[in-house]
């Protein structure tokens, strides 16, 4: 095993243990489940009012879940999750201890980033699973809605994957903010401010270049027929987060720990 992998394996394993008894892990599981559960209740009690009999209910179900998630909940969730996990390190004064260990300085940033990326992927996986289980469960308990007559595992998987990629830049940015600044309120506040800016400026013709709109654009393509797997905003997000990650690793390994 190369030294690079050894440092990452040890570091991420230590980071995972730090999650014990924290809200971060629960948040990653409960946040997506709460969205799906609420939509489930709406469909369970009122689905017959807005679903046309005989039509495919999966699109409405998926969009009712994915749309608010991508527009509003994902940026807020990412801001909260990164602030919580990095906040634990700020609160315990752990950075100085980590940087005084016989490990490469880049690994401190990268270990934390990979742990949080793991949590984000876990959260999206929970969301994806929730969408499928919720839909099939509705088919079982509310056969009148017609969920059992259609199958959209591929479409829902692709839709969730797109939002994940579309939100990577926000994740990396929020990670860098909460890594740099001790105050949870600051990184959370900026996250809320940036999200609000998207909601306010959503009718602007160039809003597609604004990072906090990228999950929305990545999700919106769900309804389009014959769309390619990647929309431009997903590329922006992917490349942007890569650049930001490299910058973050580079600056963090050079900074003085006061």
């Amino acid at each position: 095993m190369s030294t690079f992998h050894l440092y990452l394996r040890r570091g991420v394993s230590a980071e995972v243990l730090k999650l014990k008894h924290t809200w971060a892990l629960w948040l990653s599981l409960l946040a997506p489940l709460s969205i799906v559960s609420m939509t489930f209740l709406v469909f369970f009690f009122k689905g017959h009012l807005f679903l046309k009999p005989g039509s495919n209910p999966w699109f409405t179900w998926a969009m009712n879940n994915i749309s608010p998630t991508a527009q509003l909940l994902v940026p807020l969730f990412l801001a909260l999750l990164t602030a919580l996990v990095n906040g634990t390190e700020h609160q315990s004064g752990g950075w100085k201890q980590l940087y005084a260990l016989p490990v490469p300085r880049w690994s401190v940033f990268l270990n934390k980033y990979l742990l949080l990326l793991g949590l984000v992927v876990l959260s999206y996986a929970t969301f994806w699973l929730g969408l499928l289980v919720g839909g099939y469960l509705l088919g079982l308990v509310r056969p009148g809605l017609g969920f059992q007559d259609y199958h959209h595992v591929q479409g829902i998987s692709l839709g969730t994957f797109r939002v994940l990629v579309g939100s990577l830049f926000i994740f990396t940015l929020q990670f860098c903010l909460s890594f740099q600044f001790r105050s949870i309120a600051l990184s959370m506040g900026l996250g809320i401010l940036f999200t609000m800016a998207f909601l306010i400026g959503s009718r602007w013709e160039h809003i597609g270049f604004y990072p906090y709109s990228w999950p929305y654009f990545s999700a919106a393509v769900f309804q389009a027929k014959n769309a390619s797997v990647f929309v431009p905003q997903m590329w922006y997000s992917l490349l942007g987060s890569l650049v930001l990650l490299v910058l973050g690793v580079w600056t963090s390994s050079r900074k003085d720990i006061q």
Binding site: S92, K96, Y99, P102
Partner: protein
């Protein structure tokens, strides 16, 4: 001569316009307990952060184990355990889990956790959350974390900070034990000489970013003994001063009937008394005093006039 375990050469650190350390030349021999003393804000923590590679020096060099820190950071830090200011503890985890986090980072064997818990005597509380620990227990856990990789050198920043007298005594015993039984070289900082003077073998005194003294405790004690006084209460201070000046003493008038005379040792006080009595001066009080280590420390780090005590002082100790 054997190379010191830690040596710095003209170590300087500037933070913005402020020069925090100026030309520091530290020499910490292997196997010693080195007390790094200085008032708050003298630059102790900055020095420690520089020794651990957390800060980059503005100029000068740092060598640990005979290697340049800048070039060999990881191999050097593999032989160092550190406690920087307050211990970095995850308060939601138990003491054992805190050690497990560090163990995973370092890749050391699992049995080492039990060993370090035993050294710092924390086994009974190992599975309690750290948020329920007392300050002393937190400090001990911090030292256990520093010991986990079985380092040759321990760098401890104010390990007695905030501890009560019994906590200070426990810490002192622990440090002595680590030095004598486990062969660790210990570099520890403190702003109170009284807290560490019974523990350390070497002392460095930092004042406004510069070393005011560096050497063994014996050397510091020599400095203490060479500064002794006799305070003499007489009926006629003018005549007494006249007699003593004729006999070659250095005299200073303190109060209305009190003079202070510099002497080399306690025996000289008797000779001085005899001189005065023979000269017809009535001596009604005579008190021998030396500078305590604390006084030496204060005189080195404080511009205020040196205080003296009226008897040979015992070092302040809770032991």
């Amino acid at each position: 001569m054997k190379e010191p375990l830690i040596s710095t050469h003209q170590l300087t650190y500037r933070y913005g316009p402020r020069e925090i350390l100026q030309g520091l030349d530290l020499q910490i021999p292997q196997g010693c307990i080195y007390g790094f003393l200085g008032p708050n804000g003298a630059g102790k923590t900055t020095t420690i952060r520089l020794l651990l590679g957390l800060l980059t020096p503005t100029s000068g060099s740092i060598r640990l184990f005979g290697r340049e820190l800048r070039e060999q950071r990881i191999p050097i830090l593999q032989r160092v355990g550190a406690l920087i200011e307050t211990p970095s503890l995850y308060r939601h985890l138990s003491g054992h889990d805190n050690l497990e986090v560090m163990r995973r980072m370092l890749g050391v064997e699992k049995k080492r956790i039990a060993e370090v818990l035993q050294i710092v005597r924390l086994q009974p509380d190992a599975h309690r959350p750290v948020k329920h620990y007392s300050l002393g227990m937190c400090q001990r856990l911090g030292i256990a974390l520093a010991l986990l990789s079985d380092p040759e050198l321990l760098i401890l920043d104010e390990p007695t900070n905030g501890l009560d007298p019994s906590g200070i005594r426990e810490m002192r015993e622990l440090l002595k034990d680590l030095n004598q039984e486990h062969g660790k070289t210990i570099f520890l900082s403190s702003h109170l000489l009284s807290e560490i003077e019974k523990t350390v073998s070497h002392v460095g005194i930092l004042h406004q970013g510069q070393l005011a003294f560096q050497g063994s405790v014996q050397e510091l004690q020599q400095a203490t003994l060479s500064a002794a006084y006799v305070e003499v209460e007489v009926d006629n201070p003018l005549m007494a001063k006249e007699i003593l000046l004729t006999n070659g003493y250095s005299v200073e008038k303190l109060g209305q009937n009190v003079i202070r005379v510099t002497v080399q040792d306690k025996e000289e006080a008797a000779v001085l008394n005899q001189c005065l009595v023979l000269g017809g001066v009535a001596v009604s009080g005579l008190a021998f005093s030396t500078q305590s280590l604390e006084d030496v420390f204060l005189s080195l780090t404080d511009a205020a006039p040196m205080k003296t005590q009226t008897s040979i002082p015992e070092p302040i100790s809770f032991a």
